[in-house]
């Protein structure tokens, strides 16, 4: 692949605007990508601060620093902010930056909608966070907001929560429509579907998942709104409704949502492992098929989150078998990554360290997920810290490590400067140790019998909870180092070459570093 940047003839009236309006009015995919990434970083720090409150309370038995009521608000907001404010916008930011550059397009297909889909997000989270200061406090029913705890028994701020979820949903839907339209219509000549970089593939699939399930979430919260304010009884048993219906609807959204948060990570890690192994990615086609299978299967496994609600035997068995089936394509992906590294010529720069940790720790999370699929055993695991350990293993060293890896990998291209490799490695090791010390003991706590969402616990869980809290503080404060590294890199540093990484492949490495404001105004030539 080779290309030339041919936009110099009209550079003079296509630079960024000056001042704040550059960011408010921007329709440039790179600016919007930057906005998304900084926004998600801010949310990651806020959600992380809430995690610190949670772990501080759980440091030892007894109620020390918060009331149970406030504790529930913390777990709820921590979950919502990390998922909808941290991980998802970070991936959308990466998609904005990378998808057009990877497929040789000048920008996203729908730039004005792109601006809108970002700029409504801060309002959604402003509303959500402002509920902390409302009478009755913030939402306190967990990020899964099961009815009727989230309807009849909810604090008044639930209405603001519903509005905020609607806005987030609208933002996600617009963002994903944009991604689909861009990928389908704006690929440079020669970039066939099966020639697209895997990150683009992963986002194409993710975008379809989002378009399919965000309206379902919107439906669920709208029904809640009706139950709360307009006298309906969708989820109220006393009025002939069905509280379990809520869970079915929620998890029909919720399970694909889980893959929405991991598929782009698969794409990122594939690129990084390929680059630093200096060897072609093993099994490109099977990677694509595996992601498609995972996405399709994600629509028929939702009730494995609800094995204890009292479903008929046949349903339990169906959802158990379907869930276990997901292990096959997921396994294929892991094997492909390992095979890519095999007999490569590997170096361990920071992005590669994060990617390797991703493969190992995500696999651990995947294996505990397999254990959770076994219904009889799930009766013992369900809603304990074993589940907390499981999904944090796939989300923190899974999704979040992949985002950090992506930042280290592409930031030279974004900023034109190399990050400080020594600090990057330090950040990696602190995070790696922190994450394992935090979440590995939670497997023990859960198996020993501690339920999740407990502000206080029996004495036999005291030791590992303390270890977990220490790990959480280490992990949490290490992220301030990440913030420092990112700012330092943006401000200056060793200039990056256009290629940046010797083993890197793809159109984004053919443009200058930092990437010019407009790239590929005329399509590159791809063989």
């Amino acid at each position: 692949m080779s290309s030339v940047i041919e936009n110099h003839h009209d550079d003079h009236h296509h630079g960024p605007a000056k001042g704040i309006t550059r960011w408010l009015y921007t329709t440039n995919h790179k600016d919007i990508g930057t906005l998304y990434l900084w926004f998600s970083f801010a949310m990651f720090l806020i959600g992380g601060a809430m995690a610190m409150v949670i772990r501080a309370e759980l440091f030892s038995p007894g109620m020390q620093i918060v009331e149970p009521e406030f504790y529930n608000q913390m777990i709820t907001l921590h979950g919502l902010i990390m998922i909808f404010g941290g991980v998802m916008p970070a991936f959308v930011g990466l998609a904005n930056w990378l998808v057009p550059m990877m497929i040789g397009a000048p920008d996203m297909a729908l730039p004005r909608m792109n601006n809108l889909s970002f700029w409504i997000l801060p309002f959604a989270f402003f509303i959500l966070l402002s509920s902390l200061f409302m009478e009755g406090g913030a939402p306190n029913f967990g990020w899964t907001f099961y009815a009727p705890l989230s309807t009849t028994y909810a604090p008044p701020s639930v209405t603001f929560f519903i509005f905020s979820v609607h806005i987030m949903g609208a933002s996600s839907i617009m963002g994903s429509i944009n991604v689909v339209v861009t990928i389908m219509n704006m690929r440079a000549p020669g970039v066939g579907l099966m020639k697209m970089p895997l990150f683009v593939w992963s986002w194409l699939i993710t975008a379809y998942l989002l378009i399919a399930v965000m309206p379902v979430l919107a439906g669920a919260v709208t029904m809640m709104l009706m139950d709360i304010h307009f006298g309906t009884s969708f989820f109220n048993a006393a009025g002939g409704g069905d509280p379990v219906l809520f869970q079915h609807i929620f998890w029909f959204f919720g399970h694909p949502e889980v893959y929405i948060m991991i598929l782009p990570a698969f794409g990122i890690v594939s690129h990084i492992i390929e680059t630093f192994s200096r060897k072609p990615l093993f099994g490109y086609a099977s990677m694509v098929w595996a992601m498609l299978s995972i996405a399709i299967l994600s629509f028929v496994v939702w009730a494995h989150h609800m094995f204890t609600v009292g479903m008929p035997l046949a349903a339990e068995i169906f959802f158990m078998w379907a869930t276990m089936l997901i292990a096959v394509p997921t396994g294929v992906k892991v094997f492909n990554w390992v095979a890519t590294m095999f007999r490569g010529s590997i170096t361990f720069e920071t992005p590669m360290l994060f990617a390797c940790a991703f493969v190992v720790l995500f696999t651990i999370g995947g294996l505990s997920g397999l254990m959770l699929a076994i219904v009889p055993a799930d009766f013992q695991y369900h809603d304990t810290y074993f589940v907390v350990a499981h999904f944090h293993y796939v989300l923190v060293p899974g999704a979040i490590f992949s985002i950090m890896a992506a930042v280290y990998y592409w930031i030279p291209k974004w900023s034109g400067n190399m990050y400080d490799e020594r600090l990057g490695k330090l950040h990696f090791w602190l995070s790696f140790i922190g994450v394992n010390v935090t979440f590995f003991p939670q497997h023990f706590i859960g198996l020993a019998g501690m339920p999740r969402r407990y502000p206080d616990y029996a004495l036999q869980f005291a030791d590992w909870n303390m270890v977990s809290s220490v790990g959480a503080f280490l992990f949490g404060f290490s992220q301030l180092l990440f913030l420092f590294i990112v700012i330092k890199t943006v401000m200056g540093g060793k200039k990056a070459t256009d290629q940046v990484w010797e083993g890197a492949k793809g159109l984004e490495w053919t443009v200058a570093s930092p990437a010019p404001y407009h790239t590929f105004s005329t399509p590159p030539k791809v063989d």
Partner: protein, 382 residues
Amino acid sequence: MFLNFFKYLNKKILFVILFITAPLINADWFALNMTRGITDISNEVFELHMLIFWICVVIGVLVFGVMFYSMYAHTRKKNPVPATFDDNHKLEIAWTIIPFLILIAMAIPASKTLIKMYDDTAGDINIQVTGYQWKWQYRYLEDDVSFFSNLATDWDEINNLVPKGENYLQEVDEMVVIPTGKKVRFLITANDVIHSWWMPAFAIKQDAIPGFVNTAWTKVDVPGIYRGKCTELCGKNHGFMPIVVKVVEQDEYEEWVEIKKEEAQKLAELTTKEWTTEELVSRGQSVYEVNCVACHQTNGQGITGIFPALVGSDIVLNDKERNIEILMEGVQGAAMNSFSYLSEVEIASVITYTRQSWGNGEKGDGEVVVPKDVVDYKEPKI
């Protein structure tokens, strides 16, 4: 003055450290795994858990083994010229098919155990379990015995004011009692929000859902006391509604049932007794502390915005009829549920308590509610 401050600070720090570290003496560094159950089913579940666990360990060792080997042996230093292969169809087919077969090998025993667990035929003893915010009610359907089971741990222990006892947060005021060797079926439901009844030793975890009745069963052969917890977020005291089951021999069980029946009899007699205000208030206070305090607070002030204050409330001051009605029917669309499951004595006394306490007695009409009033309320209205 300054020195004094430090002395105080040191003492306080010492105190805090003592409180934080004291539980570690009771803690168990070796509580790493699921505990083996005490019934056939829960043992089977444990075996299943260990089987999958070891399969996962073997898979992990193999995959990470190859990966770590590559990370060690295929670095740029040791292998400067990378290989160029990017697929291998035989290998890819193998690592699709083999995991598939392993999964089937795991799913078959899992399905078998599940089928056994799903026997929902009637038990020798049938107990209705109802989740409330934040306690459990048990009704023995054959014997007409019914009671509530509340957390017995003192709030002073939770708030770190006194040392924590051995069964901190795992003790209740009244245990569920079941006999050995009998099939006991639990019919699990809820009164307000969703709860979940978990007894790890029996491998039972069933959600308690308002409007639904879920079933679970067990047959225990080993007498003993078994402890479990609520496992579905149900509001602020979700962590404070434990479950304790006491398994005893059959004759001991029968004795216990007789005692419970007598207690119920005595309670019924109380309804017709002549009550003084003082008696009602003192009885009402204990009812209040168990049932009302979580929301309306000890001082009757509630929590602004969620739980209304009883102090100075118009209904509590002057509207005796509405007061009874609210306790019996609950308030539609609010967290206040019907408390009609309490006895007439309990309802009358707790209303009287709230009407007389916190200065309400002087401000309002001060009328006393007696059990007879509640009985009258329950009479069918023509």
